[in-house]
Amino acid sequence: MTKREKRLLLVAAVVGVAAVAAALVLTALNSAVAYFYTPSDLQKLEKTPVGLIRLGGLVAPGSVKFAEGRETEVNFVIKDEFAETAVSYKGVLPDLFREGQGVIVQGKLENGRVLASEVLAKHDENYMPKEVADALKEQGRWKEGETP
């Protein structure tokens, strides 16, 4: 084995070991790395989580109800394909918050309802001008939240 082959082997071994280590760590961390629970994740949990949790999903259409005369007190429902969770929030909502929009809330879970201290709007991978979005919707070829 020449010196160069030895060095090649060393580099391959170092990168290989690092890759395996990273893969093991990431698999072990899997659920901890996820930024949020979905409503169905929450249903599957055996114990109710204590302390702050994050919940992510779509704002259920028709579920957004503001407290009378106030824009900073709101109740809504977050849903995914299989489950729904109710959320209460006091505070300023981000620009992208709308019905049908993906959001992530952080807060405490009490009696199946999340009392949120923070609401983040998630953006999706679709970028298009308003006219295109309107035209696609009109033609029934696309709904918000889908990939066109």
Binding site: V14, A18, A22, E118, V119, L120, E125, N126, M128
Partner: protein, 245 residues
């Protein structure tokens, strides 16, 4: 490639290429910025804030590309002892760190109005922050070890170990629930960006790439000059040795 192994030949080529690349980068950036700021539509959801994307996304691309360049150069330098490989890797690091910093800052500025927060510890954001620290660590390693050959070896190994972070960054948005949106351009099934927005984005991407190439050549020449000075100083300090022998 073998012609470039000779630092003198490389310098000649670099002197000729640098102004060409700089001019090309400037012109492309001018066109890109014109499209990005004036001649592209507002987004149906994000409104005018979408324009931040045209500086943010190419910066993030370059952050990944610079690290990949560094890793390849480190590997070539470590295994084949190519004389310019270490110089390439070392010179790329500060440029990559700057692009990463730009991506983090512009992302944060976009995140506040859109997501509602400057920062979130989600997988994408965190892994890019780690990338920034990897760049800083790599730069620190070079300056911590005086002997250049030893520094090159140690830094190369560190760089190659850190390379594992690059696929993690790329796929973080697919593997885990993250706040950051999934890929829009480099994805299976084609881009999900409307053509009117893709054009300025790609123009800016090319401008960033050319900027990187120009900066890299300048910084490599500076590094080669520094090494020459170090050699001259060394021989000036021990001039008698040659005479005695």
């Amino acid at each position: 490639m073998h012609n470039l192994a000779n630092p003198q030949r490389f310098e000649k080529l670099a002197i000729r290429l640098t102004p060409l690349l700089s001019i090309a980068a400037g012109v492309t950036a001018l066109f890109g910025l014109y499209y990005a700021l004036f001649n592209s539509p507002a987004d149906y959801q994000q409104g005018e804030s979408v324009r931040i994307m045209y500086v943010h996304v190419p910066a993030a691309w370059m952050a990944l590309m610079c690290y990949s360049t560094m890793a390849i150069a480190s590997g070539v330098g470590f295994i084949w002892k190519h004389p310019l490989a270490d110089v390439t890797a070392k010179s790329t690091a500060p440029i990559g760190a700057a692009f990463t910093f730009l991506a983090l800052v512009t992302g944060s500025i976009w995140g506040k109005p859109m997501w509602g927060t400057w920062w979130a510890w989600d997988a994408r954001l965190t892994s890019v922050l780690i990338l920034f620290f990897l760049y800083l660590g790599y730069i620190a390693l070079w300056s911590a070890i005086d002997d250049k050959t030893r520094a090159a070896k140690v830094a190369a190994i560190a760089c190659l170990v850190g390379f594992i972070n690059i696929p993690i960054i790329k796929f973080s948005v697919d593997w885990w629930n993250s706040l950051h949106q999934p890929a829009s351009v480099l994805r299976g099934g084609g881009p999900t960006i409307h053509q009117s927005m893709l054009t300025p984005l790609l123009l800016m991407g090319i401008a960033y790439g050319l900027t990187f190439a120009a900066l890299l050549l300048i910084s490599m020449r500076a590094e080669l000059a520094e090494r020459r000075i170090a050699r001259l100083e060394q021989s000036a300090r021990a001039p008698s040795k040659a005479m005695i022998l």
